[in-house]
């Protein structure tokens, strides 16, 4: 009987401590399936399927009035370029730059190599 009490109190203590220290963390971004799609990309899933998913995500993000995470637009731009939809690529890279000026050097480099036709 005694040990039941001891173990119960240990479990309750754990629960209490965990609950006490848990602070609700508001997220900075609406992630959608960005990371799962990156994983799919690494595993060789077709760009078209990823594009469909990410475009849907983006509509939802916009509806919610939130912000996609860093890299979302750049990743989408890369997928567009992989399937030859070059007209859409630059806009995505520009959008990445607009949302995240920290990406400027890299995005400009990519845009430049695109305009040279090497991408």
């Amino acid at each position: 009987m005694k040990h039941i009490f001891v173990k119960a109190s240990v479990v309750m203590l754990a629960a209490g401590v965990l609950a006490g220290c848990r602070t609700s963390q508001p997220g900075l971004y609406q992630w959608g399936s960005y990371q799962p799609q990156v994983y799919q990309h690494f595993k060789g899933e077709s760009p078209n399927e990823q594009i469909a998913v990410l475009e849907k995500d983006l509509r939802r993000i916009n509806t919610l009035g939130r912000k996609p995470p860093p890299g979302f637009h750049a990743h989408l731009g890369m997928l567009y370029s992989m399937v030859g939809r070059n007209d859409l690529v630059a806009a995505e890279f520009q959008e990445e730059k607009r949302l995240f000026p920290e990406s400027t050097i890299y995005m400009d480099r990519l845009l430049e190599s695109m305009s040279k036709g090497s991408n």
Partner: protein, 400 residues
């Protein structure tokens, strides 16, 4: 029995506290270089894979963005970065880690680079296959000055929430270990490991970056994104902590691990472009909570996919059913064969032990399992190979 449980409770109590609020105890990390550098953007390089799992790099690499971005940093798009390396003839993480920092800065325009290693991934040589473990280390390096800004290490061990008793779990172990190793769960645990390792504001962890409302640095010129509910907040997270169904997460920033008179022959030095004297090679084996004295133990931010399963008062235990389950298990690889042998052995021994004890208490079974895993980790820490450690732990269990 009472004594034993009390002993266990005594063991658990301090650990639980540390899990709850791991803030005070650990030695303060020296953040001066980090604060001076004040990075806004982080280029994460494809992690070096020291684990046995082929897909570990991709799995870990694809889940680094979330914790870092939510910590307030711009994280360069990992897939695109990887593509750029490829187009420049750099296809392996080792090659990429050797690129000069100036070059990285020139191409990507990032303030800092994160060099990561994956040391363990998946469920190799564990007592139960439902044990999934991912261990990773990271070093943040200023790309201008090449100074080391921060380093850390995290391990998440997920013991699964489905099986509450040793024998059932062992049967599952023998079956699933052989069937698959790169599974969805490993990937989830990898994401959790990244979350533990790279989130902002953790004890000994990364500092918050400029885009976070919690950023404490001087440069706050960048507007803070509006704050709403985190997409990954787990509502069920209030479930009581029960080791059977929760991940055990251990985060060890390298400087803290001055227990690092590493019994394991030091891992081959990672060919890093930066010659820093800092790198204390942490022991490969990180002790799990109860054995841990000096390490900071951090509760995982979210509960594992399977919520804590209720322990049934009595678990049906058809012992004869075990043999047929084990027998037809195919052995596609040599390594799998060895693993199968170990698990079969473990199963037989555990069964013997189990029958000699009063199985009335589900708690006892859990305790037994935890006890074995703790002994195993102690042996690993003492320099034994994982499979040897497991055998020793089982021997210890029988002799108890």
């Amino acid at each position: 029995m009472v004594k034993k449980v009390l002993k266990l409770a005594a063991l658990l109590a301090p650990v639980v506290f540390v899990v709850g609020c791991a803030t005070q105890k650990a030695k303060p990390y020296d953040y001066r270089a980090f604060e001076a550098s004040n990075p806004h953007s982080i280029l994460v390089l494809p992690p070096l894979n020291n684990s046995l799992e082929v897909g570990a790099t991709e799995s870990v690499y694809s889940t680094v963005t979330y914790p870092l971005a939510e910590a307030g940093y711009y994280v360069l798009p990992v897939a695109l970065v990887n593509e750029t390396f490829k187009q420049n003839g750099l296809t392996t993480p080792a090659d990429i880690h050797n690129v000069a920092p100036e070059k990285l800065r020139e191409i990507f325009g990032a303030d800092a680079a994160l060099y990561m290693t994956v040391d363990r991934y998946g469920s190799t040589y564990q007592l139960l296959s439902s044990v999934t473990e991912v261990s990773a280390g990271a070093r943040l390096v200023d790309l201008k000055t090449k100074a080391l800004l921060w380093d850390g290490r995290a391990t998440v061990i997920d013991t699964g929430g489905t099986s509450n008793d040793l024998l059932t779990a062992l049967v599952q172990a023998a079956v699933t270990q052989i069937v698959n190793s790169t599974n969805k769960r490993s990937h989830e645990i990898a994401a959790k490991t990244n979350g533990l390792l790279l989130r902002g504001g953790g004890p000994q962890g990364m500092l918050y970056g400029p885009r976070s409302p919690k950023y404490t640095g001087r440069d706050a010129t960048i507007p803070v994104a509006e704050a709403t509910a985190a997409p990954r907040n787990d509502k069920k997270a209030a479930a009581p902590a029960k080791r059977s169904a929760q991940s055990t997460a251990v985060m060890v920033p390298a400087p803290v691990a001055d227990t690092a008179v590493s019994p394991v022959p030091a891992a081959q030095p990672v060919a890093a472009p930066v010659a820093e004297p800092v790198a204390v090679v942490a022991p490969l084996a990180i002790p799990v909570a109860p054995a841990a004295k000096k390490v900071a133990v951090v509760a995982p931010p979210a509960a594992p996919a399977a919520p804590a399963a209720k322990m049934p008062a009595s678990v049906p235990m058809p012992a004869p059913a075990i043999a047929p389950v084990l027998a037809p298990a195919p052995a596609p690889a040599v390594q799998a064969n060895a693993a199968e042998q170990i698990y079969a052995d473990a199963l037989a021994r555990a069964q013997t032990k189990y029958q000699s004890l009063n199985p009335g208490s589900a708690w006892y079974r859990q305790e037994l399992y935890d006890w074995v895993m703790d002994r195993k980790d102690e042996y690993v820490k003492a320099g034994k190979a994982p499979d040897v450690a497991l055998k020793l732990a089982l021997a210890a269990m029988e002799g108890r």
